[in-house]
Every structure is written in C-alpha cells, then in structure tokens.
Amino acid sequence: MLGLKGLKRVWLIAAVGLVATGILGRTAAVTEAAAGEEVRLRLVTPYPVSTLDPIKSVAAGDIEILGQIYSRLLRRDVNFELQPALAESWEASDDGLTWTFRLREAKFSDGSPITADDVVFSYLRLRDQEDSAYGGAFQVIKDVVALDERTARFTLKHSAAPFLGSTEMFNAGIVPKKVVEALGDEEFARKPVTSGPFMVEEWRPSDRVILLRNPHYWREGRPNIDVIEWIEVPDENTRVSMLQAGEADVAREIPWVAVDQFKDSEEIIAPLNQSSVITTILLNHKDSLIQDLRVRKALAMAIDREGITKVVTFGYATPANSPLPSSLDYYYAELDPIPYDPEKAKQLIEEAGATGAKIEFMAGTGGSVWDQATQLIQDQLRTIGLDPYINPVDTATWWDKVTTADYQATVSWWYNETPDPDTAVRWALCGACGNSSFYTYYNNDEINKLTEEGLRETDPQKREELYFRIQEIALEEVANIPIWYKPYRNAMRSYVKGLFMNPAIQWTFEDARVEG
C-alpha cells in the first residue's frame, strides 16, 4: 500500500521531536533555577493591575500591589499594629487638630531622599486631585505644610479619630514630587519611582508586573525577596493548577474546594488568614416590596446562614452576626443576629400581603460561590411563600444595575482597607455619605448622625458605644442581610515563610522569606 510507511515515519519523527523539545525546555528551566541565587516568587491573582499611581484606584488588584511599592508615614506590622514607617515619630496637639510628623532618613528607589516636600505633595494630590479615587478619608485635612526637610505638619478641619490610622492606607503612599511633576501622572503610573520595599522593573498590562527588591528601602535588611512576578490569571482552576505544578508559588483566591483539598497537603498551605471581607445580601430599599420592614425581616429569617456558609465555604467561613466586618475595631461581637425562623418568616410575608410575590435575585458571575449561594437562598425563600428567580449578569452589568437602583436583591461582598469602622460605615450603612449605603438606598437619619459623631469622637469608650448603636439599628432595620465572614482563600507553596495577607488586604512580602 502506498506511503503509509512513509507517513508513519513522519509521525514518529514528530513524536520524537515533541518529546525532545519537552526535555530541552525542562532542562533549560532547571538550570536557570539552579544557577540563579536570587529569590523569586510568582504570585497569581485574578485581580488586574490598572495603575501604579497610588491615588488612582481603589480596586483590589491595585490596592494589593500599591501597598508593596509605596511606603506610608505609618505602617502595620505582622500583628496589624501601627508602627513608625517613613515617620519615625509624631505628636498631636491636645485638641487633636495639629499633627506633626518627623521623617526618618529614607530614600526613593532612584536613591533620592524622601523629604517633607514629597509628603506634602503626595497628600495634596491625594486630597485634591479630581481623579483621586478614594480621597474621602483625607478631606478632613485642612492643610499640610513642610516645616523643614524632615518635618511635616498637618492641620485638621475637626478632630478625627481615624486620622492617624489613615496615614497607613494604601493610597497615602509617598511619591517623589520631582519625578511625578517631570513625567506627568500617566507616565509615572507606568514606570514609577517608588518608596516601598519593591520597585517596578516592568509592567505588562493584563499580564504581569515584575517587581524587584528596592535597594534603597528604609528598612534595613528587608525585603528578602529579590523578585516578585505578579501575574494576572483570571481562571481560578488555572491558578490552582499553576500552584500544584510549581509554576506559581503563591495563589490568590482559590476555590473553597481547593482550600479543602490542601488542608492535609505538606507542599501547599492555605493559611486562611482573617480578612475584612463580609458577604452580604444587598436589598434595594427603593423597591416597593423590599421597603416593607416585615418583608426584609422575613427574608433575614428565611435564610439559614449557618447552613449556607457550611455548604458553600466548606465551613471555612463564619456566619455573620453584624452588618460590619468582624475584623474592624468596635465590631459588635455580642450582637444577636436575626434568628433563622422560616415559620415566623412565612407569617410575616402573609401579614405583608406578599405571598407569591416575585423577587429577583441578581447574581454576579464573578465566581461559582455566588451562583451557589444565590441558588440556596432561592430555595429557602420559596419555602416562605415568595417566588424568587435568579438573574445572572456579568460584573460590569452588575455595577451598572446596582448603582442605578435597578435591582431587588443580590449577594455581594465588600472589605475595608483600615481597621477603623468610619470608612466602613460610610460605605455600607450611611445613607448620606455619597454612595447611599452601598447602593441599597437605606437611609436612617440616626445612623447618618452617629456616623459624623463617630468620626469626631476621640474617646475609644464613647466611640464604641456609637458604633455598637449603628450596628444595632442597621441589624434591626435589616439594612442588608449579612451572611458570612470569610478568611482569605489564598494558598502558597510551603517553602514560602512569613507571608500572609492582613485584613487591610496587604501582603507581608517585605517580611517573607523562602526556605529550603
């Protein structure tokens, strides 16, 4: 028969070639690892980096990397306590209105000194620039001036308890005035001169950022990591495969099932560190059905939070009792949540005349977790006589609908970038603070008033009372329905030591090292 033999030969050659390239490629990779002494970590994350300018974004992908490349006046140590950073000391006037920070001798990644002028410049653009994404917490600053090379003085419009802590926030990173002014914002955002433990070697948008150890970093002997490859990998299964195949050392946001799978692994650990993430059901208070407190109460009673948490998160998350994240200061741990009581819920729905009412649950397609949780909720709401249906939408559409009050209910989550509850309350529960209580349009005058009092009150005892009261009211009125507090779903190879993510979604790369 013709040519079959010849064709077979071609096949054979192709197969041999394939295996050979495999072996060659592998050898190349191995020699590279053996020859280089540098410590290189590869992080895979779903969150895209969109800018390297600290003030331009408050999206997760940006927050996480900005914290690694810019130093702030203060920092949080591995125990989440405030510590001196660029400021080696500070003092406040008795009325709490004037804060003077004394800077240590420190340098930017280009070797130039970090001066009080840079601090003033960084804070003014953070407060004033119209595209400063999250400048709200800094509007309390009336003025900031450089008294000399190494002293900066802040004056506040009124006393503000969160102020000192806010100098640690990711967007309060200090940038070099001269460089930003010379390059312009856009150019600077692409290849910045940094003040943090790492500097930027290269940014390939929608692919990876390559960070190098900043040799001028002010902390002696830190960091121990020479290179971090910060790789964007949108698919959660791919991130897990990379970690398992040794193509990544650290993975952000892996599925709960993978967390469970790694619990007995010696090679991969999922440390499950406490986060400030709270998963909650947002309710649109502008909706005629939801407006009825009886309906909201019934919804809260119909949902078996313990059961849902157990099923969806394999029991790794904790059912939520308060509308605020459990990692925050003044979190009300003893607050009794609305109990699971489907009988009572059914009764309330009848009283409200809502039996058989359709209720739309919008589901963002951000991951399997939301689909699963939303389906369980749908089943539970059926048992109390409602007619829930699911409307799946993608993330961009989700935001469009939420911000225009075009929804009834949806499962969502949020986090807080500082332990102080001020920004959290303003985001999720205050109806007069700009974003209408996370676009639930819940508006309670007392909470709005307490929010302002809480900001100005400097006595911790009194602040606690104020924030406890806020949590009580929001829970009682079912502002939203908190479901669970989850730890971070991050995992890493076990040779990575000392690395975790703190509740303010900041990695501790500067204190991490690699062993073995």
């Binding site: 192709a14 495999g22 895209p48 955002a189 948008p205 929608s206 939408v393 935001w399 700009g434 974003n435």
Partner: protein, 311 residues
C-alpha cells in the same frame, strides 16, 4: 494578472467590511450595560471621581461623536487608549500578537497533519477496524467541550505526571514549543475531527472516481495515483473548510489562552470585553476581522494554485 486583480479586489473589499464591523462593535459595546471606569477606579470611588475619569477618556460625549473621533484618530494611526490600562491600544495589541500567532499556527499544523494522515488511512482502509477507530475518535472529538479537554490535559499531563508545563509562554523558541504542547493538543482535539471527516469523504469519493480507476488500469503506481490524482482533487473541497477552521482556531484563542494563562490576544479580548474596555475591544475586533479576511484571501489564492480551472 488575474490573480493580482483578485488580491486587489479583496483588499478593497476589506474597507467597507472594516467600517461596518467597527461601527457595529462600537455601538454594541457601548450599548451593553456596564461602565469601564467604575471597574478600574474601584467600587469605593465616588460618583464625582468616576465622572472626572469618564471625561478624561471622552466617554461623556454622545456615542456618534465618540465614533467619529475614533475613526479620525484611527486614520492618523492612533488606535485610541485602553481605559483599563491607561495607555495606547496599539501597544497592547502588538505586545500580545506573538503568543497568539504561535498558538494558532502551531494549532493549525497539528490539526492539518493528523487530519490528513488519519483521513488517508481511513480512506484506504475503509470500514476496517482502524477506520472504525478513527471514526470513533472524530465523533468523540466533535462532542467533547474543548475547555474541558484543556482542563483534563492540564490535570493529567501537567499537574499529576509533570510532563509539560500547565501554563504560560516561554522566552526562547524551545521553551515556547514546550509550553504550547498542551494548548496545541487541545486545539488539535477540537479541530482535527472537523477537517478529518470532510477529508475522508473527499478522499473516498476520488478513490472510486473513474479517472482513478482508469489510472489504476493503466498500471500506474499507487503512490503516483495518490499524489497526482487523488490528493489534489480531494483537498480542494476541504480547502475552504480549512479557511473556516483557521478562523475558528483564532476565535478559539479566547477560550484556550485564559485556561493556559497564555498572554495573547485571546486573553486580552476576553478581559477587555468583561472590563468594557471599549477601544481595546474595537482594536481587537479590527485585527481579528482583518486576519479573517486575509485568511479567506489566502484560501482563494491556494485554490487558484491547486485548481487550474479557477481563473
């Protein structure tokens, strides 16, 4: 001369095609709910900040004004700016062409060669056990969801056996081949059956055609008959299908690249659609449209070469 005219005509046709496609994608992308600015500045940003950033990108203008500005810039070689990465679109697209090119070209080679080989075997051994086996292969291959095949390949060959890398795209040529073995296989499993089935029936037709029977009766060697008479005649109908397969493979990059974390055009495309990054969507659509037209053109030219009747 005629060939040149055909090429020129086709390239001219590209102009209205591109205008039509760009207009449709522009309107569709913007009509879809969702705001790219909110996604990049983050959920906590205030409405004022979002409005300010929208203005920076000209997104506050009416859509037809935006389109005209876009076209005007495009004519001057400016493809617009990515909203998500705050930089010029063309740079991002160019920086990601190489991985996709590797993926598509390699994937196509690994589709064409096995399809040809298996089709020849199947046709010459019609209804034998090996023909049945090949038939099972392409029936199953057509039925398997390709993303699932990709995931299973990664799980078995990369994670458990550790023979191949699970993801990525290397630096050197050798590394790249090594990294792309699994993605290529995934493409091959999905695309080979389509081509294979078509080729096999084409070959069978020709093998029993009168001119082949007469060639055999003249005592010509089988190898000569195959190369001279059977193959060219049976490849023709599959050539157009090959064009379609090539375009599919390009589209397939959108599914394959995210699974294997290959930093190519497909991943960028998916990301820009989810992020409503209008000008990147626009730019990529134009690139994909141009490639599609060029592939069709290439197929036509190939047909010209193979088939003397076409003029």
């Amino acid at each position: 001369m005629k060939k040149l005219r055909l090429v020129a005509l086709r390239l001219l046709q590209l102009v209205p095609v591109l205008i039509g496609i760009s207009l449709i994608t522009f309107v569709l992308a913007q009509a879809t709910p969702g705001d790219p600015v909110r996604l990049i500045v983050g959920q906590r940003a205030t409405e004022e900040v979002i409005a300010a950033v929208r203005q920076q990108y000209g997104l506050d203008e009416p859509i037809f004004v935006q389109y005209l500005v876009y076209v005007e810039n495009l004519l001057q070689g400016d493809w617009g700016r990515s909203i998500a990465f705050r930089g010029p679109v063309l740079d991002f697209i160019l920086s990601r062409v190489t991985p996709t090119l590797y993926l598509v070209v390699g994937g196509l080679l690994l589709t064409i060669l096995p399809a040809l080989l298996l089709a020849v075997i199947a046709a010459y051994r019609q209804d034998s056990w090996i023909d049945q086996l090949i038939r099972i292969f392409y029936t199953v291959g057509l039925g398997l969801p390709s993303f699932w095949v990709a995931l299973v390949l990664v799980l078995i060959l990369a994670v458990h056996l550790d023979w191949f890398p699970a993801t990525g795209f290397g630096q050197t040529f050798g590394e790249r081949l090594y990294h792309l073995v699994l993605p290529w296989t995934a493409i091959s499993v999905a695309m080979t059956p389509i081509l294979l089935r078509n080729l096999r029936s084409g070959l069978l037709d020709r093998l029993h055609a009168d001119f082949v029977v007469s060639a055999r009766s003249k005592g010509l060697p089988e190898r000569y008959i195959f190369l001279r008479h059977v193959l060219p005649n049976s490849i023709l109908p599959s050539l157009h299908l090959l064009g379609v397969v090539a375009v599919w493979t390009l589209g397939f990059a959108i599914i394959i690249e995210p699974i294997f974390a290959i930093p190519g055009l497909g991943q960028l495309f998916l990301r820009s659609i989810l992020g409503r990054d209008y000008f990147v969507i626009q730019g990529l659509t134009l690139v994909f449209a141009m490639i599609t037209v060029l592939i069709t053109l290439a197929v036509d030219l190939l047909t010209l070469v193979v088939d003397p009747r076409v003029s």
